[in-house]
């Protein structure tokens, strides 16, 4: 690994307490096919899979680091970068699109200064466009974590952001 790459990773991942990952690995170490539960557990713990944790998992489960990376990039559920405290999902499926979803998306982009699948530097928000959230009757639809916001408008975007800006990060 070049020094520049190493430094970059260090910058992204300031302090990772690997003992948390160790505990998760301990729990599943004897289970056949333990890679998925370990990865899911580690992601629950840190919010994403830090590289150092992936390396630790590779070492302790005796799986190639490359194979772990293959799994991590195959499943949409795994994230390799720190994620925001609040995940904003805006549906851009057919029904929502017709009802004006592109404008909702643009407004979020403008207000949060991030694009699709990006996270704000303060780790408050991650924004994602998604294909369908399965509630076309409420189109256009947005979700923040587990809360649903139907019949979205540009004004409601402001309200949502103002609301979540007040909430604690931890």
């Amino acid at each position: 690994m070049s020094e520049a790459v190493a430094q970059q990773i260090e910058e992204q991942e300031p302090v990772i307490d690997l003992s948390l990952a160790d505990k998760i690995i301990d729990k599943y170490i004897d289970l056949p096919g333990n890679l998925m539960p370990v990865l899911q557990g580690v992601q629950d713990e840190y919010g994403y899979i830090p590289r150092v944790a992936a390396d630790l998992i590779a070492e302790r489960l005796n799986v190639y680091p490359s194979q772990i990376y293959g799994v991590l990039t195959f499943y949409a559920q795994f994230h390799l970068k720190p994620r925001g405290r609040f995940i904003i999902r805006v549906c851009v499926g057919t029904a929502c699109h017709v009802q004006g979803a592109p404008r909702i998306v643009e407004t979020f982009f403008d207000k949060l200064h991030i694009g699709h699948a990006e996270t704000t530097p303060d780790l408050r928000y991650t924004f994602e466009k998604v294909a369908c959230l399965g509630a076309c009757g409420m189109a256009p639809l947005a979700m923040v974590n587990d809360s649903t916001y139907g019949s979205m408008t540009v004004q409601k975007v402001d309200e949502i952001i103002n609301d979540y800006n007040q909430r604690p990060l931890k």
Binding site: M1, N62, Y64, S66, Q67, Y69, T73, F74
Partner: protein, 822 residues
């Protein structure tokens, strides 16, 4: 056998064959991109689609479908051709058509198939990829824009190499082959992925833009690094060896090579090769003619007579070693040896006493036929990487149990279900004796063992080696020792492997005898998949032993060096060895060679030893001469010149011949004649000739007369507060010659010392810090390498490097006690 019909032809094929195998066996060609006979079927590319009548004419992949009785298969119906054309069109949709600058052109499966199926237009259109090309290492270029996602590289790296550097990442159209976290490739650089890549995605960088594939002349030969005896095809153009060419049908290893074999060929045409004879005049080496050089040497040898001595490298051919012996006999001396004297003791003393023969009663092919492998030191992977591949495949595909007894962990310890017992360095013989003790006490021995000569003595001697007593001393538990002994004894077939060589002074006659005892006790000898394989270091180490090029009546290597210092050796002829770097105790060797009256060195390069010589002769590499090499399992293989001799170089055969003639003798005229003499005089070689060896070589028979020998254990004088330094081979190097191969030097350019994380953090040493390693002999500066594999208190250092030669601090003891400072 199964009967089936392929393209209206009645054929038969083995029961477990796939349609592709059956067709290939019967000379019917089915096109493939993702299939490789060495790998498990994958079915990714869909080029091998065929129609099976019983499956209602559906198109099915031939490479993954097993055959059944009465199957009727058509491989080239108009529909099939159409389907294959479309597969190619889809592949070419994203594959860039940059064939004019692609090194793979001419050898590219995709190009050849596109040509064969006349895909001259594409009905589809899409953007090409724009992936960043990985130029981060000097050996393997990864251009994922050309990738067809056959997965062969990722599969070979997992299934055979067991490194797992590559994987599929993402999915759908985004899928590509990557390393973890898209880091640059950083692996063991064996180049297996390059060899199987059907397109130009993975290329050997040293060969880039050197020659078009079709301009190369291929010459089959044998690798000149380690003793595995891998077959090699050299790609030659304009008298230059430009690359090694992959041939999947070559050798027992099916064309698999390691980093040195595949990328270490550059020494052959190196700019640094010696090209003219040199003679020392007024203190400096100046160019001279062969006539003058031969005259001077012959005169000196004649005067010295019985006080002439010779050291040869076991890299030269059997024929040359025989002629070298003849030369020594001509001057009336029997002082000749190789590999510092101790590196062949396991064979010439240990096996001779225990088995009555100086050869291993096992072959590399047994690795995949056994039930249990007992590997002494994980270095087996480092010294003989291709044997390591065989072990990987045995463990992964044949469920062979792998037990490792070593002073450190290694790559083999990571294999599935591998059991690694880490002992205190230098106590391996005690542990092995304890295994024998358990086998005897628990009545696990073979019924015939008691009647083998020496049983009573061995039983008596083993009394001191109870598992409890040994466990305390070796850092193992008694239960571990008992378990290993029971597993070994109860396995139906079991094979023991151990490396020997210059960096393993502890792997001597006693270790060989201790291991032979285990095999004799349990009757694991002389059967398929059983035995003990002593893995000698160099390409012709076994040959040098077979040719008798070691001291029997005269001085051994150690005494020759002492003789140089004391004056009892007047003239020393060194052919290819580099004792100044590779023999233990640098100071002593350098002083002795400085002292000797007359020193002749024949070598490819101006080595540290050659620089001290009075006459230096430019010798030929293996690619410029004819002869035979004998591998560790006594496979005798014929090598032929791939290129003309460089400069004024002469083969050692010609050099020794000229000297014998000058001294009034009659040398053999050609290597072929010498080999005839070898086949009539050397045990096991009877009936062999260059013609009968062919391309695959022939095994020299090994007949065994077992007897038990009581091995001496090493005295363990540990020094408190010091660390145990063990030496060995680095994966990328072999002897000191690989220093002249650019490939190995790119990957591993200098010596290092490996230490555990605990020791490193205790001494506040970081990766790549320069540390001073001090022993009672001296001290050297080495880069620190922190690794998980080292146990606390143990250091490892490879021995190959001139500038940081480890022999400045090692004196030939199995373990050197050292201290580290920054």
């Amino acid at each position: 056998m199964v009967n089936l019909t392929i393209d209206d032809k009645q054929v038969t094929a083995p029961k477990n064959a796939t349609i592709y195998d059956a067709a290939k066996l019967n000379g019917i060609k089915i096109p493939i991109l993702c299939h490789d006979s060495k790998l498990k079927p994958f079915g990714a590319c869909r080029m091998c689609l065929v129609e099976v009548e019983q499956m209602k004419g559906r198109q099915i992949p031939a490479c993954t479908t097993p055959i059944t009785e009465g199957m009727i298969i058509r491989t080239a119906t108009p529909d099939i051709i159409k389907a294959r054309k479309m597969v190619l069109e889809l592949l070419l949709l994203n594959h860039p058509i940059d064939c004019p600058v692609c090194d793979k052109a001419g050898d590219c499966d995709l190009q050849n198939l596109t040509y064969e199926y006349e895909v001259n237009a594409n009905r589809f259109a899409d953007a090409k990829f724009n992936h960043v090309i990985d130029y981060n290492n000097p050996l393997i270029e990864r251009d994922m824009n050309r990738c067809v996602l056959c997965g062969k590289c990722a599969r070979i790296c997992d299934e055979i190499v067991s490194f797992g550097a590559l994987t599929f990442m993402d999915r759908g159209i985004e899928t590509k082959i990557a390393c973890e976290f898209e880091a640059p490739l950083n692996c063991e650089f064996c180049g297996s992925c390059v060899s199987v890549c059907p397109v130009g995605s993975l290329l050997a960088r040293p060969f880039k833009f050197k020659a078009r594939f079709w301009a190369l002349t291929n010459q089959k030969t044998v690798c000149s690094y380690c003793g595995t005896g891998c077959n090699l095809t050299l790609g030659v153009k304009d008298n230059k060896v430009l690359t090694t060419v992959y041939d999947e049908n070559q050798g027992f290893h099916k064309g698999q090579l390691c980093c040195r074999g595949r990328f270490g060929y550059q020494f052959i045409n190196s700019e640094r090769r010696l090209t003219t004879p040199l003679v020392r005049k007024n203190g400096t080496l100046v160019e001279t003619t062969w006539d003058e050089a031969i005259e001077v040497i012959a005169a000196k040898m004649k005067t010295a007579g019985a006080s002439t001595a010779a050291l040869a490298t076991p890299r030269i051919t059997n024929e040359e070693l025989i002629l070298f012996k003849e030369l020594m006999e001509t001057v009336g001396s029997n002082n000749y040896d190789h590999s510092a004297g101790y590196a062949h003791a396991a064979l010439t003393k240990g096996f001779v006493q225990s088995l009555g023969v100086a050869a291993s009663p096992a072959s590399i092919l047994d690795v995949q036929k056994t039930d249990l492998l007992l590997v002494i030191k994980t270095d087996t992977y480092e010294t003989h990487p291709v044997v390591g591949f065989e072990i990987n495949m045995a463990v992964k595909n044949k469920e062979v149990k792998l037990n490792i007894l070593s002073d450190k962990r290694g790559k083999l310890s990571k294999l599935p279900n591998a059991k690694t017992l880490i002992h205190v360095p230098g106590t391996e013989i005690a542990v092995i004796n304890a295994l024998a003790k358990v086998i005897v006490d628990e009545k696990l021995a073979d019924g015939t063992a008691a009647s083998v000569p020496g049983f009573a003595e061995l039983e008596k001697a083993l009394a001191a080696f109870t598992p409890d007593a040994v466990a305390a001393q070796c850092g193992l538990t008694a239960a571990d020792i008992k378990q290993l002994a029971t597993d070994y004894a109860k396995a139906e077939k079991a094979l023991i492997l151990f490396p020997v060589g210059l960096p393993y002074p502890g792997h001597n006659e006693d270790l060989a005898s201790a291991l032979a005892n285990l095999a004799i006790l349990t009757g694991k000898l002389g059967k398929e998949g059983c035995g003990v394989l002593c893995m000698a270091e160099k390409n012709n180490s076994q040959g040098a032993v077979d040719m008798g090029f070691y001291s029997t009546a005269g001085m051994d290597a150690g005494k020759i060096i002492d003789g140089c210092a004391s004056g009892s050796v007047k003239t020393l002829f060194i052919a290819g060895e580099n004792p100044v770097v590779s023999y233990p105790d640098h100071t002593k060797i350098a002083a002795a060679l400085d002292k000797v009256d007359f020193l002749v060195v024949a070598d490819l390069f101006m080595t540290e030893t050659a620089a001290m010589a009075d006459v230096v002769l430019p010798a030929c590499s293996f690619a410029e001469k004819e002869g035979t090499f004998t591998s560790v399992d006594r496979r005798v293989q014929h090598i032929k010149p791939a290129i003309r001799k460089i400069g004024q170089c002469r083969s050692d055969f010609e050099i020794f011949g000229a000297l014998i003639t000058k001294l009034g003798g009659k040398p053999s005229a050609t290597p072929a004649k010498t080999f005839e003499a070898i086949s009539s005089s050397v045990a096991g070689y009877a009936g062999m000739s260059y013609a009968s060896l062919g391309e695959t070589g022939a095994y020299a028979a090994v007949s065994v007369k077992p007897s038990f020998v009581v091995p001496k254990t090493m005295s363990l004088a540990s020094e408190s507060g010091k660390l145990a330094l063990v030496t060995g081979s680095a994966l990328y190097h072999s002897g000191t010659m690989s220093q002249y191969g650019e490939g190995p030097m790119y990957v591993c350019p200098e010596g290092y010392v490996e230490l555990s994380r605990n020791d490193a953090s205790k001494m506040k040493i970081a990766e790549n810090d320069l540390v001073i390693v001090t022993s009672s002999k001296g001290s050297i500066k080495l880069k620190a390498k922190i690794s998980m594999r080292m146990p606390q208190g143990v250091l490892f250092a490879p021995y190959h490097f001139s500038e940081t030669s480890i022999n400045r601090i090692c004196s030939g003891a199995p373990v050197t006690w050292v201290s580290l400072s920054k």
